[in-house]
């Protein structure tokens, strides 16, 4: 430990305003966050006079060595246990920035406090112990930073003194953490070797012949305040309606864009149109006129030209790009309550200023971001994350997170207490629920590994037969592999290989309820022939009943949105359950089926679902597949002989003319380039663009 010498003001206060940046310090317990903060405050000359002496005296009184962490851990209980229970905030500045520094606890049981702290931050410093390396709470905090919308991360590898500043070990940890953060879409701005205890790497360089890195303070000086969403369309969530005098004032904060007297507004969820009459303020400016406009971040009031009925929770939005509304929300969330989040759980759901009662309709995925192990069952445990669908008792107004980061965030209350929150991936009503929007899905944390494995398998499988490819996949990956069949020609050939080889692969079909009678006959015949049961996955009956109630039995012909809502409930959502906890997925896709599928490969990393997808027949032609089926007496659908090349749901599939693209018979009434139901659309972050 260094001697404690009061430093002169390294960074004297200056009159010119410096940007204010809020930073949160996160990382695994005991990796040295509070020590780093104590040292940082000391070295930037930010401690109040007498603080160091007071803490030194306290340490002496307790007969223990001085700890830098005492600076922040000022609560009695924390000094005794040496851990940070809640989040603290403290201010300091450097030459270039004013900082609000938020210390977040590293203990798992205090994750709610870490989230409370980190949600206020513009940037994060992730502390990793040089001896212990990346631990589960390091990963969990990284994952949550991403989910909380933080986009600037500086990593410090602390306690370098304990490993004698060993460059090899440093690089090992650096690669480990940088790869992980990159896979989250959150590449670190810097990875800096430091020793908080010895005061190395904070304001003094640590460079040796082995590396050159900036100091932590140099890295902090490059951080930027989070930008207000000025350039986005207007979102003015209504907080309250005041009638203190003859004015009827709609009060709220402008969350994005700007608003001016005379502007036309669309108010969600009702969709009513209205016009801004005045912007209200107090005290009325000296000019005697109220301001005529207001911008992002301002808490204001407006009056309307008409007496439109508006309630708290409505969003007044730009008429050109209005917000969305609906009673169905799909969200990627973190969960902080001891009671697991699972289907049937009742919640109060808040979106901007609106709140509705909701029930979890489905848990599409669940994962412990510490271990990255997907949960087997439909349940998100305490401090875990996942994707859910919620049905609300009334429509709420909001946006998807990728359209608007402020109005696209949902907060979940359980038993009267905030218990979770996350990013809105989709919002709508059953009848018009948009399909899973792949572009809005954050990438799976082990995307990097998946992609590497996919690339390796692609190379090794080039020369193998389809049957050998299936065997190789089974041999190479641990865990469940699922083959989804719709009883098309390719599917029958693949099922033949799996059954003949007795491979440990689960056979699943999605029974949408609208399949051809011929498909059910073939299903039964196939089970008889091979002696295997094919597991059927069905749509959720409540969702289906609501869909049909809203859009009618053949409502999918009405619009593309209606068709996609139908596909979502009958196919996509059940597929999610069919593939839950699977590590591998075998499909009958072929490269030459359509232009959309031309870019595919034998093996692809499906980072959204966290699995490897094998298309064993990807390089076969239709003729070759048919030839193989005939020679091996594999049962195939009678429909193929009647001109049906690609077979899906009966109402949505028709025969095609010779020479047409194979999938031309699917959803023929819609315009081209959308002959996918969404099953095989990947995230835009995936290795191969679709």
């Amino acid at each position: 430990m260094n001697a404690i010498i009061p430093l002169q003001h390294r960074f004297p206060a200056v009159a010119s305003p410096r940007p204010l940046v809020r930073i949160v310090i996160v990382g695994h317990v005991d990796h040295g966050k509070s020590t780093l903060i104590g040292r940082l405050l000391h070295e930037t000359g930010s401690l109040p006079d007498g603080k160091l002496e007071q803490l030194t005296a306290m340490s002496t009184r307790r007969g223990m060595p001085f700890e830098w962490s005492f600076v922040l851990d000022a609560l009695q209980s924390e000094r005794d246990q040496n851990i940070t229970i809640d989040t603290s905030q403290i201010r300091f500045h450097t030459r270039a920035r004013d900082f609000v520094l938020i210390d977040a606890p590293g203990h798992t049981e205090f994750l709610r406090n870490m989230i409370t702290g980190a949600a206020q931050a513009d940037a994060a410093v992730l502390v990793v112990d040089a001896v212990e390396g990346v631990r589960d709470q390091t990963r969990r905090h990284g994952y949550l930073l991403q989910l909380l919308g933080i986009r600037q991360v500086v990593v410090v590898i602390n306690k370098m003194d304990r490993i004698s500043y060993d460059a090899t070990r440093f690089r090992e940890i650096e690669t480990d953490i940088a790869d992980y953060l990159k896979s989250l879409g959150l590449p670190p701005l810097e990875v800096i070797p430091i020793s908080a205890r010895e005061g190395v790497g904070i304001t003094e360089h640590t460079y040796t012949s082995e590396w050159y890195r900036p100091t932590l303070v140099e890295a902090l000086d490059k951080l930027l305040p989070a930008r207000l969403a000025l350039e986005l369309p207007l979102r003015f969530p209504i907080q309250a309606i005041y009638k203190f005098d003859d004015r009827r004032i709609l009060a709220g904060r402008v969350e994005s864009g700007c608003i001016a007297a005379g502007d036309e507004l669309v108010v969600l969820p009702s969709g009513a149109r209205t016009k801004v009459k005045t912007i209200e303020a107090w005290p009325v400016p000296r000019s005697g006129h109220n301001p005529s406009r207001a911008g992002t971040g301002q808490s204001i009031g407006i009056t309307l030209e008409d007496s439109l009925f508006v309630e708290r929770g409505a969003i007044a939005s730009s008429a050109e790009a209005p917000a969305r509304a609906g009673d169905q929300i799909r969200a990627r969330v973190f969960w902080l309550a001891p009671t697991p989040l699972e289907p049937g759980v009742q919640l109060a759901v808040s979106l901007a200023t609106g709140t509705a009662q909701g029930v979890v309709a489905a848990v599409l995925s669940a994962v412990d971001p510490g271990s990255l192990i997907p949960a087997e069952n439909q349940s998100i445990g305490c401090n875990h994350v996942g994707e859910i669908e919620i049905t609300l008792d009334k429509p709420l107004a909001g946006d998807t997170y990728d359209t608007n980061p402020t109005t696209g965030r949902v907060v979940l209350e359980f038993n009267g207490r905030i218990a979770g929150g996350g990013l809105v991936l989709a919002i709508g009503s059953i009848a018009t629920a948009p399909p899973l929007s792949p572009s809005s899905l954050p990438e799976n944390p082990d995307a990097g590994k998946l992609k590497a494995k996919a690339a390796e398998l692609v190379d090794s499988m080039q020369e193998l037969s389809p049957a050998q490819r299936i065997a190789r996949l089974r041999h190479d990956i641990e865990g469940k592999i699922v083959f989804t069949t719709s009883f098309g020609l390719e599917d029958q050939v693949i099922l033949h290989w799996i059954a003949e080889n007795g491979s440990d692969i689960e056979l699943v079909t999605l029974d949408t309820g609208r399949l051809f009678p011929e498909t059910y006959e073939l299903w039964a015949k196939t089970e008889q022939r091979y002696g295997w049961r094919i597991r059927a996955v069905y749509p959720h009956h409540e969702q289906l009943e609501q869909l049909v109630a809203r859009q009618g039995i053949n409502g999918f012909y009405q619009s593309k949105d209606a068709r996609e809502a139908c596909c979502h409930i009958r196919k996509i959502e059940p597929l999610g359950r069919a593939l839950a906890s699977a590590r591998g997925w075998i499909t009958g896709l072929r490269r030459d089926q359509s232009a959309h599928r031309a870019g595919m490969d034998i093996v692809e990393a499906d980072t959204g679902r966290g699995l490897l997808k094998l298309n064993p027949l990807f390089d076969w032609t239709r003729a070759a597949v048919l030839d193989f089926a005939t020679k091996n007496d594999i049962p195939i659908s009678d429909l193929h002989a009647r001109g049906f090349a690609s077979i899906g749901c009966a109402p949505c599939t028709r025969a095609i003319s010779p020479g047409d693209p194979e999938r031309a018979g699917r959803w023929w009434w819609e315009q081209e380039n959308k002959s996918e139901c969404g099953l095989h659309i990947k995230s835009r972050n995936s290795a191969h663009e679709n």
């Binding site: 004297p12 206060a13 009159a15 305003p17 204010l20 401690l47 109040p48 006079d49 007498g50 603080k51 306290m58 922040l72 000022a74 609560l75 009695q76 209980s77 229970i85 809640d86 989040t87 603290s88 905030q89 403290i90 201010r91 709610r112 406090n113 989230i115 409370t116 949600a119 206020q120 909380l148 207000l228 907080q239 309250a240 005041y242 203190f244 004015r247 004032i249 009060a251 709220g252 904060r253 209200e280 303020a281 107090w282 005290p283 911008g295 971040g297 301002q298 808490s299 009031g301 708290r312 902080l336 808040s350 965030r409 907060v411 209350e413 009267g416 207490r417 905030i418 218990a419 929150g421």
Partner: protein, 264 residues
């Protein structure tokens, strides 16, 4: 928007959330610079009025200047003023050090006032930068039936969504200026022309930085006799704001003990 605009917008948002979501709220007016800024912000939030009572929990030992200020501005700002007296020091936990025990009268007075009026939300003008335990506060901070603060089990609070469902018999402390600093308060006071008590300005080389009971509050050495000079002084000082408040310094955990039992 500059920094003061951002602070103001955030505080107004908090005021409106609490007023909308809670049943019966009041603002705790200590007559100091922070609660005066709070009243000003409330008037902004509600377009020129404070639509709830403003309560002074009186120890009877404030400076005369403070009482004069209260009576003048309660009228000028058209406030619904409630004054509640604190019980005598004999009614307070005798194990506390003397100054803290004296300050704890306010905690007791507050409990009595809560019971009398049935408030489920109290606006309090504490700030994170004042003191380390206050740095850990939530904006909407739940208090138990006895007014106690359970620092080990604070609910999560993020993205300006607040826990606003206090169980029956409990209340919430709502902290609209938690994110402000002492210097922010003075800069805002200067910008908005908010009146202040003259004790904050230097007289004979001393001024009060923080105001409390006359017998346990002490002035600091300072020649700052105007708002501009106070702001300039705060830009360079490293002396803590509450250094003149005796009850904070009697023992290591005196102030924390005050706070967990319900002090502000």
């Amino acid at each position: 928007m500059d920094r003061l605009d951002e602070l103001e917008a955030q505080s107004i948002y908090i005021f409106r959330e609490a007023f909308e979501r809670l049943r019966k709220v009041a603002l705790l007016w200590s007559l100091g610079k922070d609660s005066n800024v709070m009243i000003w912000l409330a008037q902004k939030a509600f377009f020129g009025r404070v639509p709830f009572p403003v309560m002074h929990v009186d120890t009877g030992k404030k400076f005369p200047e403070m009482y004069a200020f209260r009576d003048r501005y309660a009228e000028e700002w058209n406030l619904q003023l409630i004054v509640e007296q604190c019980p005598p020091v004999e009614a307070v936990d005798p194990t506390l050090p003397p100054a803290a025990r004296s300050a704890a009268r306010k905690t007791e007075g507050l409990k009595l006032a809560l019971a009398k009026h049935g408030f489920d939300g109290l606006f309090a003008g504490i700030r994170r930068d004042e003191e380390a335990t206050r740095a850990k506060e939530r904006v909407f901070s739940p208090r138990g039936a006895q007014g106690a603060w359970d620092v080990r089990d604070q609910p999560p609070e993020f993205w300006d969504h607040f826990n606003a469902s206090p169980p029956p018999g409990t209340h919430l402390r709502v902290h609209p200026i938690l994110h402000w600093t002492e210097n922010d308060i003075w800069r805002y006071t200067r910008r908005e022309g908010i009146p202040i008590i003259s004790l904050y300005l230097s007289r004979d080389g001393k001024r009060y930085r923080s105001l409390g009971d006359a017998d346990i509050t002490f002035p600091i050495e300072s020649n700052a006799s105007s708002l501009d000079e106070i702001i300039a002084e705060l830009d360079t000082t490293k002396i803590p704001e509450r250094s003149g408040r005796a009850m904070d310094h009697e023992s290591e955990d005196a102030f924390e003990r005050l706070r967990t039992t319900g002090y502000l």
